[in-house]
Amino acid sequence: MSSKSSLLKVILLGDGGVGKSSLMNRYVTNKFDAHLFHTIGVEFLNKDLEVDGRTVTLQIWDTAGQERFRSLRTPFYRGSDCCLLTFSVDDSQSFHNLVNWKKEFIYYADVKEPESFPFVVLGNKLDVSERQVSSEEAQEWCMESGGYPYFETSAKDATNVAVAFEEAVRRVLSLEDRHEHLIPTDTVNLHRKPRSATQCC
């Protein structure tokens, strides 16, 4: 089969401090930096990959810290193809907040069919010793919420990071009506050079 390239907007969503930026950096650059000062100026990272014979470009968007005080809105959310709901296994509050993040995503991304939207859930910081959220508890929530795939990850030691993103891509590609994205017609590209024809007035 021919390989068909497409750009997918993927967002990582969850409480501040659960490791979203670290996951993004681990996956795209295979680096882990505990301080993350270098994410200033980073809006999204791109990664090309091949899944089941198809080549896609993932555009993974950073929250830029706007989630800390719940100030994320449509510039971040709109146009997302997939949402990775992320919590930290050592922080039960971040797990309980997933339900709010899911609600907020559905609202601001204006998702028309929430039941079939491809959510993937990540329980990060698997490397820490003291868990507050058990695997069983998380699996149960994922199953009840919509049968979401669940991955326990560590950005620090790279556990399950790549496989989680790849599953996210599979979920998006498996949607039959994916190509029916509402692309606005007759919009203008502000970057294009003006027309050369002279005009009156």
Partner: protein, 447 residues
């Protein structure tokens, strides 16, 4: 909170969000707060429709015919972007364009003798237009060529006109333009709302006519652009820029007090905590004692189920009602957009009438505009005070922005931003200051 910032910004109107973005991109540590749960302040787009009804004190729910509430994004202020204007330059330099899609407004119309006429967008349309007679058209064309060639740095283009001394009235006389052409030029092209400009030196007017022509040439149809999902996307986009460069955002955050010491700002108190800062930017509503009222604007948001008559079924348009057509001092504007811009439910149109208030009965003042829109499904009437700062911020380091005026573009807003920037930094504003500082699609080049 309980931290130290270079700049605290209160209110997430477009002016404040653009300034926040500029300051963050330039390495300032910025805290940006708004008492509302949404971005935009006075320049927001209200969604869902139920919120708009609530905001305007309408106790009924929207009727079924209005469709899904979430499909509505209703602007509180009616404006379009000049395609070659300063706001578009700001969007391009900051790449805030990546969050937004724009459409060209489909037409511009001018009211004359009780009817509306299309403002010509091509030479063919101009020749066919009934706005002026044939001999007038030839003189007008000569005038437009003069304007197009005019370069304030090249005296050879002046044709005896002094850009800093010759009044615009004198320029019109030089080209022997009649009153109809003068009215059209001043109000439909230079977009003046009054006739005060006639006694002013001509350079500003020439530049405004140039801006209109260059904006029109960019895409055709009209000089205006409009963002899908409403104008409220603009402040959100610039806020996102600020956040990417380290700005901290707190919506739903009440401001208890602005803390001053020895006449200058030292911080902001919210919910018992104080964030300290060296400088403060805010919209007028946060600092009523440091602004004064300079007038009022009336804006009436009208929901329609039809395009406006005689606009060739346009999904978007502007109508200018020049002040002397209706015995006023200021022009009345109508800005119309629709479901085609993802701001209304399918088949619905939003027309917003606005003008500077001149009497104690502003709704009666705009009656000629409302008549053009009938039948109207629902009206939302807002009469807003306009404020300006009383203090330039030198001593206090408090920089209040100006309220949004009745113009239907953002040039005055951008001028306010540039002025505040200069007072805050001591340097002239330069669009280069808005450029993103590094390749923030890191990783793309490695594939």
């Amino acid at each position: 909170m309980d931290e130290e910032y270079d700049v605290i910004v209160l209110g997430t109107g477009l002016t404040e969000c653009i300034l926040s973005g500029i300051m963050s991109v330039n390495g300032k540590k910025v805290l940006h707060m708004d008492r509302n749960p949404y971005y935009g302040g006075e320049s927001s787009s209200i969604t869902p429709l139920e919120e708009l009804y609530k905001r305007f004190g309408i106790s009924d729910s929207p009727p079924e015919s209005m469709g899904r509430g979430r499909d509505w994004n209703v602007d509180l202020i009616p404006k379009f972007l000049m395609a070659n204007g300063q706001l578009v330059k700001m969007l391009l330099y900051t790449e805030v364009t990546r969050y937004l899609d724009f459409k060209v407004v489909e037409g511009s119309f001018v009211y004359k003798g009780g009817k509306i006429y299309k403002v010509p967008s091509t030479e063919t349309e101009a020749l066919a237009s009934n706005l002026m007679g044939m001999f007038e058209k030839r003189r007008f064309r000569k005038f437009l060529v003069f304007v197009a060639n005019f370069d304030e740095n090249d005296p050879k283009t002046f044709e005896g006109v002094d850009p800093k001394l010759t009044t615009m009235g004198e320029v019109y006389k030089k080209f022997d333009l009649g009153q109809d052409v003068i009215d059209f030029t001043g109000h439909a092209l230079a977009l003046y709302r009054t006739d005060d400009y006639l006694e002013q030196p001509c350079l500003e007017t020439i530049n405004r006519i140039k801006l209109y022509s260059e904006s029109l040439a960019r895409y055709g149809k009209s000089p205006y652009l409009y963002p899908l999902y409403g104008l409220g996307e603009l402040p959100q986009g610039f806020a996102r820029l600020s956040a990417i460069y380290g700005g901290t955002y707190m919506l739903n955050k009440p401001v208890d007090e602005i803390v001053m010491e020895g006449g200058h700002v030292v911080g902001v108190k919210s919910e018992g905590q104080v964030a300290r800062c060296k400088q403060l930017i805010c919209d007028p509503s946060y600092i009523p004692e440091r602004v004064h009222k300079v007038g009022q604007v009336v804006r009436v948001i009208c929901v329609l189920s039809h395009p406006i008559k005689n606009t060739n079924d346009a999904n978007s348009c502007q109508i200018i009602i020049p002040q002397n057509q209706v015995n006023r001092k200021s022009d009345i504007y109508v800005c119309m957009i629709s479901y085609a811009h993802n701001v209304a439910a399918q088949g619905k149109y939003i027309a917003i009438v606005s003008t500077t208030v001149e009497t104690s009965d502003p709704e009666a003042e705009i009656e000629p505009a409302l008549e053009l829109l009938e039948p109207i499904d629902q009206k939302f009437v807002a009469i807003s005070d306009m404020y300006e700062p009383t203090d330039d911020g030198t001593e206090s380091q408090v920089f209040a922005s100006r309220s949004y005026d009745a113009t239907t573009h953002f040039e005055t807003t951008c001028n306010d931003i540039k002025d505040i920037y200069k007072r805050m930094t001591g340097s002239d504003f330069d669009f280069e200051n808005m450029k993103r500082k590094q390749n923030d699609v890191f990783g793309e080049d490695e594939q």
